[in-house]
Amino acid sequence: MNTTISIEPLTRIEGHARISIDLDEAGNVADSRLHILSLRGFEQFICGRPAEEIPRIVTRICGICPWMHHLASVKAVDACFGVKPPPTGALLRELCQVMAHINDKILHFFFLAAPDFILGPDADYSVRSIMGIVRADPELANRVAAMRKLGQQLLEEFAGRAIHPVAGVSGGFSKPMTKEERQRLQQGCRTLLEFAVFALTYGRDEVLNKYQNILQTLGRIETGFLGTVDTNGAMRLYDGDLRLMKADGSFTDFAPEQYKEHIKEHVENWSYGKMPWADSWQEGFSMDLDRPRGIYRTNTLARINICDHISTPIAQEALEEFRDLFGRPAQGTLLYHWARLIELVYTCERSLELLADDRITGDMIRHNVQPGAGRGVGHVEAPRGTLIHEYTTDENGCITSANMIVGTTHNLAPMNMSVRQAATDLIKNGHYDEGILNRIEMAVRAYDP
């Protein structure tokens, strides 16, 4: 009799998902699916509302990366109304965005992913969690908790709110930065950078090196990548051009406004999550493991792969080491974790770089805006991938239509493939246990959905 294994809920990820794996009569994997179970309809309910309010609404798409939606949205609204923020406003926005990345990466690596490595993929589920780390290594746990708190606090003290922010406003930013605030932030970011450098070494030596055997193999698939770079090809998170790279390393760069010429979204009738794919490659869409078509990935590994270099010194050094080991583009799915730690270092370095710019304490933070008819695309690199918001507005400056491609969704097709790959590899002749099922989830967790 054929059986279906179901893993529900997927745990230590953001959001709501279930995996089902169909076994054939011999007990081998016949099919598998990663189902996204709910849908909220933001594209519908922001319609008719004044566009300047949208950045305060779409934050609720995701409570883990609300700054990303906030800022992609504010950029889209700027474009609808035809304004650009003054330099100080833009610096303040970018600072908040990269600082939010810092907090997210600490959360993901230590709270969500690390238990699998520090306590082991086969540890009992009651132990294999941050609480297990609290018991196994209380010093580390305390340090991680303190760093997360510091990161969130710095943002909150300066911008009012860390979760579901409000300080990004059409035309700029809602408040300037005082000299004292700048000093406090600089001090805090230095502490965070120190921790990031520790995390990178700790992650590489204590965690990833010990799992060499699965780092390159678990959930491994061959795909293209999408991310953002500046005109010099350096990695960027807040703005820049999109770069879409094929699995063979060749790539095209294009302005974010042109996303529709490159990306389409595929729908399977067993999931509410849409699956973006590269239409411009003109090869169609297929999640076939041996011959995938149109499949690309986003998020940390993608950004590390597509960029020519990183503009800050410590992260660049780490990138070089990474490339020596794994090549470009690197395809191992668990390498997402490694790439995440490199980005953690970059975001700390970048925060300090932005804080060092004297314009950041300027008074001119916001241009007055005139609501009106328009169309605008806003994009940022969110922790989970390239995030795109596009709106059109009527003459009152109210939304008439919206399209959003959320970071995580780019990786839905690849995640489905990684699940299939891991399951096929690990489940044989009907044999599986908790440790094996957790390894399949680890393939998903690498993407940090």
Partner: protein
């Protein structure tokens, strides 16, 4: 004494759980006093045996259960019922759970229309709405107390970490948490002069303030002519004596829901504005005043004739 804690998130954004984690260092002693039995964001307890013999959702018994998010599909409803069965005290964590939250804005449209819109955006291949192995959506988004008995309401989008920590500590110490009775204005230090604008402005220009001075020297934003929902919103956000958005010098949008659970934020606010002689017809998109509390039938699709016009 070992207090067991279970947590679930339904029609939500996970922000409430992140706020829980933002308790920071103080979280660790808390975690040591609590025994987590189910919390999908942090630990790997599953609903049932993967072999699928039991399709029931099983959640271990717990003294305290935190549920964030409202209810919008059949699956979320099952999870909520399972939580209710397993938990002695059920806490609605966050405004989605207490009043529907942002996702309940969809209640202004028939659910089928909303699904249609999502699956027909410019970049989406022309398809039918997924309907296989995807839990059917309910007719609208419900708050938790519309679907089950809730013992403690903890609004906020998300509730401030200090509020969550205090409730958990109270619970561990055997105390009943005090409900909020203050509004955001009651906790706001801004200067009130008694003189206000007669017309409301859109927030397309910043408020007037001196950035080197504290918020206490800034004139009340409502008086400056910006719609600020402070008067009709439950207080508790922010620390150090200033509401969180006011700290960022932007007006309140009402994310903690109404001051008393059953109040209507839009009616309350408009009533206040009208009593002050402000022309409510100049307000663009008044239904946004219910953007955090659209459950309980507050937001609903307009009758056909009105929508067409």
């Amino acid at each position: 004494m070992n207090i067991r804690l279970a947590a679930e998130s339904l029609h939500s954004c996970s922000g409430c759980e992140i706020s829980l984690l933002n308790i920071g260092e103080a979280l660790i002693p808390l975690l040591n006093r609590l025994q987590l039995v189910h919390l999908p964001l942090l630990m790997d307890h599953k609903y049932s045996d993967p072999a699928g013999s039991e399709t029931e959702i099983s959640i271990p018994k717990a003294e305290i259960g935190l549920v964030s998010g409202g209810v919008a599909n059949t699956h979320q409803l099952q999870v909520l019922e399972a939580m209710r069965k397993s938990c002695t005290t059920l806490v609605a964590l966050g405004t989605c759970g207490t009043h529907g939250g942002i996702p309940a804005m969809i209640n202004e449209w028939p659910m089928a229309d909303a699904l249609q819109t999502v699956f027909s955006t410019v970049t989406t291949e022309p398809v039918d709405v997924p309907n296989q192995d995807t839990p059917p959506m309910l007719d609208r988004v419900y708050s938790l107390d519309e679907k089950t008995d809730v013992d403690i309401f903890l609004p906020g989008c998300p509730p401030d970490p200090t509020i969550i920590a205090r409730v958990l500590e109270d619970f561990l110490d055997g105390l009943t948490p005090e409900p909020v009775t203050k509004s955001v204005c009651d906790t706001c230090p801004t200067r009130r002069t008694g003189k206000s604008e007669r017309k409301l402005l859109r927030f397309t220009a910043n408020a007037r303030f001196d950035s080197n001075e504290s918020t206490a020297s800034m004139q009340c934003l409502l008086e400056q002519g910006f719609l600020c929902m402070g008067p009709v919103t439950a207080g508790g956000c922010g620390h150090q004596g200033e509401p969180a958005c006011i700290r960022a010098r932007v007006p309140c949008r009402g994310c903690y829901g109404p001051v008393r659970h059953q109040d209507n934020q839009m009616l309350g606010m408009l009533n206040g504005l009208v009593s002050q002689g402000i022309d409510f017809k100049t307000i663009i998109d008044r239904k946004s005043m219910l953007r955090f509390s659209g459950a309980h039938g507050r937001l609903r699709p307009l009758k056909e004739k009105k929508r067409a016009s």
